[in-house]
Subunit: 526 residues, 2 copies
Amino acid sequence: MTNVRPPNLSDARFSQALRELTSIVGAPNVQTSADRLSDYADPFTPQPMARAFAASAVVLPGSADEIREVLAIARAYRLPLWPVSTGRNFAYGGGAPRLTGSVVLDLRRMNRILEVDETLAYALVEPGVTYFDLYSYLRGRDSHLWIDPAAAGWGSVIGNTLERGFGYTAYGDHAAHQCGMEVMLASGELVRTGMGAIEIGRAWQLYKAGFGPSYDTMFMQSNFGIVTKMGLWLMPRPDAYLIAHVKLPREGDLDAAVETLRPLKLDETIRNHAVIEGAIRHAAGVSARSDWYDGAGPLPDSVVDEIVARLDIGRWNVHFAIYGEPNLVEARFAIARRAFARLPGARIEANRYGPHTEPAGGGEGNMAGIPAMSAFRMLDWRGGTGAHVDFSPICPFKGGDAMRQYSVAKARLAEYGFDYYGGFTAGERHLHHIVATIFDRTDPKQTDAAADLQRVLMSDARSEGYGVYRTHLATMDFAASQYDFNDGVLLRMSETIKDALDPDGILAPGKSGVWPRVWRGRRGDI
Amino acid sequence: MTNVRPPNLSDARFSQALRELTSIVGAPNVQTSADRLSDYADPFTPQPMARAFAASAVVLPGSADEIREVLAIARAYRLPLWPVSTGRNFAYGGGAPRLTGSVVLDLRRMNRILEVDETLAYALVEPGVTYFDLYSYLRGRDSHLWIDPAAAGWGSVIGNTLERGFGYTAYGDHAAHQCGMEVMLASGELVRTGMGAIEIGRAWQLYKAGFGPSYDTMFMQSNFGIVTKMGLWLMPRPDAYLIAHVKLPREGDLDAAVETLRPLKLDETIRNHAVIEGAIRHAAGVSARSDWYDGAGPLPDSVVDEIVARLDIGRWNVHFAIYGEPNLVEARFAIARRAFARLPGARIEANRYGPHTEPAGGGEGNMAGIPAMSAFRMLDWRGGTGAHVDFSPICPFKGGDAMRQYSVAKARLAEYGFDYYGGFTAGERHLHHIVATIFDRTDPKQTDAAADLQRVLMSDARSEGYGVYRTHLATMDFAASQYDFNDGVLLRMSETIKDALDPDGILAPGKSGVWPRVWRGRRGDI
């Protein structure tokens, strides 16, 4: 037995609940050893916080029927559950629960690829299916469909989509390419959204809305239900594609990069989730910080300039892809190249791939639908036991906004002793600005500073009118409190719906700042 | 005073409620005369049904603050309200309420275009803004942005989007191009969704989801709140565009048309909401039925063939548009033309427009972002006082499904004495199949047959696994009951949320089959 238990249960009651859970899923699928539970602690959570987000047990159901029985037990005991698809929500909490003592409900055993339709270009998957799994499955069948991988290929397709993660191809907006869900409510009732409610389900993965109010987006970043199946659209493999890299020499070029990219996105010259990454993020893929500098505090600008020169990269680096029939690819690239060539000092390269060639992997691989784990190279940047926590504000797709977010964050990171490790990923009218605070977990000073910094970054952003799209367990309440129009009515509406759908408050208390009535007093507790 | 009143109020109580409403919005904005109320009866509703959907009064608030006070009165009296943006939901009920005796809350006075952002290509509008209004506003400012009009340009932008209407350009999926809402709940609380909850709202119209559960789609085809502001994305005016027409000679060519169009949509050669319309729909734009035939029953196939020959159209007619830089437009058209040219007997024409030319209007105008009322020409097809009611199943984007839906509907229409007047509009992986039953309202036999037919068409579809995306007031309960997976749990979830957000049941009882607790006994009543 572990030393953490659900806050509302005695040891005896908790033991009794675990015995009942074991009778449903079997002994190997109820785990309480400290060793196994440690797998569910986010390895990136700064240590002092990790104790605040400790699981009391892990239950791994094998089917929706088992989940239903687990829910019945949870309702009877008022046992808080923390459902995860596979628990790889790294930098935002991993598999750890918001409310300490919750039981993690890990769905990784439910890992079937239920359907792939080559004609209509979609898949239907269970929560345990990872990007690697789906990729291998399609490759093994010589499918003409691509996946759009998340940054880390080991992540769950459902998990990433529900957290509104994003990728790199033209299907990079994962939430936008989701179509149809099966969701189990806290009551144990199984709902199919959209056209899935037409029983034989001809159009479940084809048309999102169905008839009447539509709910899929309500189950994202949410604790209103457990998603047990999800449809996603897959991109047909293009005849040819080109991956372009633009190197821009000056720090201030971010503004022009954004201003140049926006019209190319809006007129659909560039359809993929193009990326504008800072020099350090680029450098961290191929080197360690200690290769360049061993002083205290953030890298001086002069060192960043040296990195840029020695690695022959840009101070900002734009990466984009164009897919399609070869002539069209070239014609669209000509337009994009002309636009970027106007920027002083811009250097533009492109690699072309065809039906029988593809990138070796890494960043280009992601833009070609090939999942990888290369994003984790960043962990070696700072040395020691690398970890990171991400600050992820939404940025209007304008150069001035990007520069403002960048400048404020860079200065604040420097104040806390960190480098600006970040970049912007292009949606249609917004940019996802992702700033990773990289720290050595074995260094308590760095770790504490990294933790403190996150709220400061979020406050800075809020005061300029920006909000985050996603955040770590430790800052979920803080983020939710920033979405405070009209005295926080949005969150109150969420909690009204929460109480209606989950009156016992068993599903993921505190997720995204939404607390069920029975646990509402815990808001803000860490 | 009219002869209809809310079913739960005495004449005296209702009069008292109206006096209180008048004190809020002013006497001219509370209307009860039979003459004014008749404007809110759907002119297309078959007469016997019209009495079942009669408004007791119309209230026209001028602001969100007035709506809040109206809601307080409605809660106090348990007065059912039927909010409409402008009430032009023709063929699905117009401005008429589902529950007879409801007070129509008509938002047409709230008709400000609050913001147009030329750089980020969006608008923020109030419910009373029509497609004509927004179009005129943009033209008057020499905007470089297009609208995507609904079939009838007089419709409300918000109203059409909330009903999940669609248009003809690359932004034809109106719900998909909506971003950010302001919604007043039954409580009078004003919610802003997505990034709008960040008070100064920099990204409200730029990123849909915000943080945590996201709700915009839950307020579509819904009675959970009153949408008072809505953002929508606008398409940048293309350098050039081409509108193509493919005429296919045989009835069976529908299959090949769909099979040809699908890969062109999936690989993004064609990005607009292409249309495949049947010969009669095409003919109704330029002629009347009596020009061709005056026998009883549906047009014989031989007459349809004669129409096709004489008008030099196809038995099926595909219309699509390609937008962009002139060379790209031609390159993409070459691909599409090659594909359609493979179909035996296909004839392909294209009209090209540039920065200084545009279509004269009508069907081509819609594909160029120009709103029109030409869709109403169909009303003259049958003669007498023309009306129509629409059967609108979602069709998988496959030739076999389209042929099946077409054949079953055509046979059933013929059985009831109607022509197949229909077509398919192309989404990404589905088709909106729209079948209009056109009837003469002054002919009781036609009118009754048209009404009876709708449920039969829906039952036919359901037995093949198809469901409708939208339906008339008279069949909302019937449609909702078809979405019956797991004993109708989706509808039960909707009603759980409804009761939580609107415990007094004042907002649009029965909308999309969702009934609040206090009116649930009315389900199925007409």
